[in-house]
């Protein structure tokens, strides 16, 4: 099994994708986070398209077709309508473009810190899992056997 060779996004496609990223996850002063079109995050998105490249291209094609030209240059209301149509159509193109953007946005150091998450891989430090309230199990322990035996 081999990955199909797919040419990288063209500069025009990249511009369109950046617009989608900004629409999907805009910057927020309230939460003190960048948008997904932030230069560092967006560079990560473009670099990490991997297996989703073909479907992302299809999603961008659908958006361009909806607005009748470059999606990056479409006025706000037309762009919103096109994005809603893409979401309604669902399927692999929607899944791919959301995955491409969100998987990079939610690993950015600034975004993770704003969520009180230490920006590091889970290994090797792991996490602390508290024991929780084992006394809750006392009533269950008192129950009679529930499983059915069967002829041998």
């Amino acid at each position: 099994m081999r990955n199909d060779p797919e040419p990288p996004l063209s500069p025009a496609e990249e511009r369109d994708l950046r617009r989608v990223a900004a629409m999907m996850v805009p910057a927020s002063t309230e939460y003190d986070v960048p948008g997904a079109d932030d230069p560092t995050i967006f560079a990560d998105i473009v670099k990490s398209l991997g297996r989703d490249l073909g479907d992302v291209r299809r999603a961008l094609g659908a958006l361009r077709e909806s607005v009748g030209g470059a999606f990056a240059d479409a006025d706000a209301s037309r762009a919103e309508v096109a994005a809603a149509a893409l979401r309604d159509a669902g399927g692999a193109p929607r899944a791919a473009i959301e995955r491409a953007i969100l998987q990079c946005y939610y690993r950015d150091d600034r975004v993770l810190r704003s969520l009180n998450i230490e920006p590091r891989p889970p290994f090797p430090k792991g996490h602390v899992l508290e024991q929780g309230d084992w006394s809750l199990l006392d009533v269950v322990k008192k129950r009679p056997k529930m499983w059915r035996d069967a002829p041998r």
Binding site: V25, E98, L102, R107, V128, E130, M146, W147, R148
Partner: protein, 534 residues
């Protein structure tokens, strides 16, 4: 073609079942060889060691072989199936990726015809397997708590994983409803165990524990089997099992790591390629004597595929819970497991309570169903969800239906040009009713826990990676592929030991029982050595 020296036992596939059988047979001192198409895994390469750990689950560690597309994978065309296939091909097989949830089939699962008038009884029973369940629990290293009224007695060698915040929230909800729940048995080490480190709550048991706390067979059975003399050759993909003029298996043709065709002669062959890989291999092993595929005079090879429909209901509570900061599985409930004549379906299901999920996955899942919007509302809605998730899975019993099957796909081939597998699978009426019942109960539980924004996912997203029933066990050679101790009716030195031999699916994750059955078959082989091929 290169011809190797003959071995006594050739095992094909090194996953859950292949590893257990290899280890068990070492005491016979026979020359045992295992051919495995995949690689040995390296802990340092697991996703949880890098910052892209969630993204890699959609790339080289995806649970679908069709997206993962390693050269060691083979294509599985599941377009005609409502359930998608999840697996892993490598030393350890699916146990490298599995979530380590460790229930057993119940005694009633083996006798569904006698008890409930559906499907067929197994030709063996729970109590025959009990000592193999126990042996396997010690070998794999199980954590759990004795005394569960919902299941027969068992003796996990390690204490259970902590309830944590999430388990506590579930426990309170279940007590409010008066329903059974119990900390799940899991093959995650909670203490140091036979050279394995105790879990440090990395939280990503799927797709592989970088810390080595989760029991996959590459770190449990295999080191012991290899030390006892078994040879394991990775990156060796078997194309077909060959037979001689007497209709006995004579060995296998495989591709070595350099892609060279080799013939491996063997006195006996044991297939352990899982419920899709095994029928694929048998169907690819056609010959003049076996024109419909090997061991397939009954036309049962590939049929009766069971995949365990597994709806999930999730919701979000106000308080913070554990999310992905601990093993993914937490507790189980057997409240609805056994048949209840007041319900409109036979058999039942386990409720499996998940701990939560990580930041990327939460975003993907919530955005994909419009629960978290694109645009300005995104951040607030996302923050209401991350680390607030409760999620209940419904592990439905799956009964055999002949039209649910694995066939060959001549169009989609693996990297050696061998036809891939094609899946046809629909969900039966009994299971549909069971699913809806389970969804309603899971909804009750989440509501009792005070969860909001409930969302139900019925099938598509939920691929538990269970593949069962496609070379089933039975006494009647017209209706089954192997006899009650795993030997093919048609070929007397060919054995099948993986989940293919299951007669019915039960409502649990299967690996504990797959391995208990494999150890039982190995024990039968040892006991019958003198007359094994008669």
């Amino acid at each position: 073609m290169k011809r190797n020296d003959i071995v006594d036992v050739l095992i094909i596939g090194s996953g859950a079942a292949g590893a257990a059988v290899a280890w068990s047979l070492t005491e016979t001192k026979m020359r045992i060889l295992c051919l495995e198409q995949g690689d040995w895994m390296k802990n340092s390469e697991f996703p949880s060691t890098g910052r892209d750990w969630e993204a890699r689950r959609f790339a080289d560690f995806d649970i679908s072989p069709n997206r993962r597309r390693r050269d060691t994978d083979y294509p599985i065309n599941d377009d005609a199936s409502v359930m998608k296939i999840a697996n892993f091909n490598g030393v350890g097989g699916g146990t490298v990726f599995y979530t380590a949830h460790w229930p057993r089939l119940h005694p009633s699962d083996f006798k569904v015809k006698s008890l409930d008038g559906v499907a067929d009884d197994w030709p063996i029973d729970y109590w025959t397997l009990e000592k193999f369940f126990e042996e396997n629990d010690r070998m794999m290293g199980v954590s759990g708590l004795e005394g569960d009224p919902g299941v027969p007695p068992r003796h996990p060698p390690m204490p259970p994983i902590p309830l944590g915040k999430t388990g506590t929230a579930y426990g309170k909800a279940m007590n409010k409803l008066g329903w059974h729940w119990w900390p799940s048995d899991v093959t995650v080490a909670t203490t140091e165990y036979e050279g394995r480190a105790a879990c440090v709550n990395i939280g990503h048991c799927t797709p592989g524990c970088a810390h080595g706390a989760k029991a996959s067979t590459d770190i449990t059975y295999w080191p012991l089997a290899i030390r006892a003399g078994v040879e394991l050759r990775p990156r060796c993909r078997v194309r077909e099992i060959t037979t001689n003029e007497h209709g006995m298996a004579s060995g296998a043709i495989y591709y070595d790591p350099d892609g060279k065709e080799c013939f491996q002669p063997a006195e006996m062959v044991i297939v352990a390629c899982n419920g899709v890989g095994t029928p694929r291999l048998l169907l690819n092993s056609k010959s003049g004597k076996f024109p419909n595929g090997l061991a397939n005079s009954s036309d049962q090879v590939g049929r009766n595929l069971m995949l365990h429909p597994w709806p999930q209901v999730r919701g979000y509570v106000e308080e913070f819970v554990d999310g992905d900061r601990g093993p993914m599985t937490s507790i189980w409930s057997k409240q609805f497991y056994e048949t209840d004549p007041n319900r409109d379906f036979a058999r039942g299901y386990t409720l499996q309570f998940a701990r939560g999920t990580g930041p990327v996955n939460e975003a993907l899942q919530s955005v994909s169903v419009d629960q978290v919007p694109w645009g300005q509302g995104h951040h607030a809605a996302y923050r209401e969800r991350l680390y607030h998730r409760l999620q209940v899975g419904i592990a439905c019993d799956d009964l055999p239906e002949a039209h649910n099957r694995v066939t060959l796909d001549p169009e989609r081939k693996d990297s050696h040009g061998i036809p891939g597998a094609k899946i046809d699978y629909t969900i039966g009426e009994n299971t549909r009713r069971m699913m809806e019942h389970g969804i309603a109960r899971a909804t009750d539980i989440l509501q009792a826990a005070g969860a909001k924004h409930l969302y139900t996912s019925r099938t598509i997203l939920n691929s538990p990676g269970h593949m069962l029933g496609t070379a089933r066990m039975g006494t009647d050679p017209d209706r089954s592929v192997v006899n009650p101790w795993g030997r093919c009716h048609d070929v007397k030195n060919l054995f099948i030991v993986d989940g293919s031999v299951w007669v019915t699916g039960g409502g649990v994750n299967p690996t504990s029982t797959i391995q208990a059955v494999a150890l039982y078959i190995a024990d039968q082989i040892k006991q019958r050595l003198a007359t094994l091929f008669d």
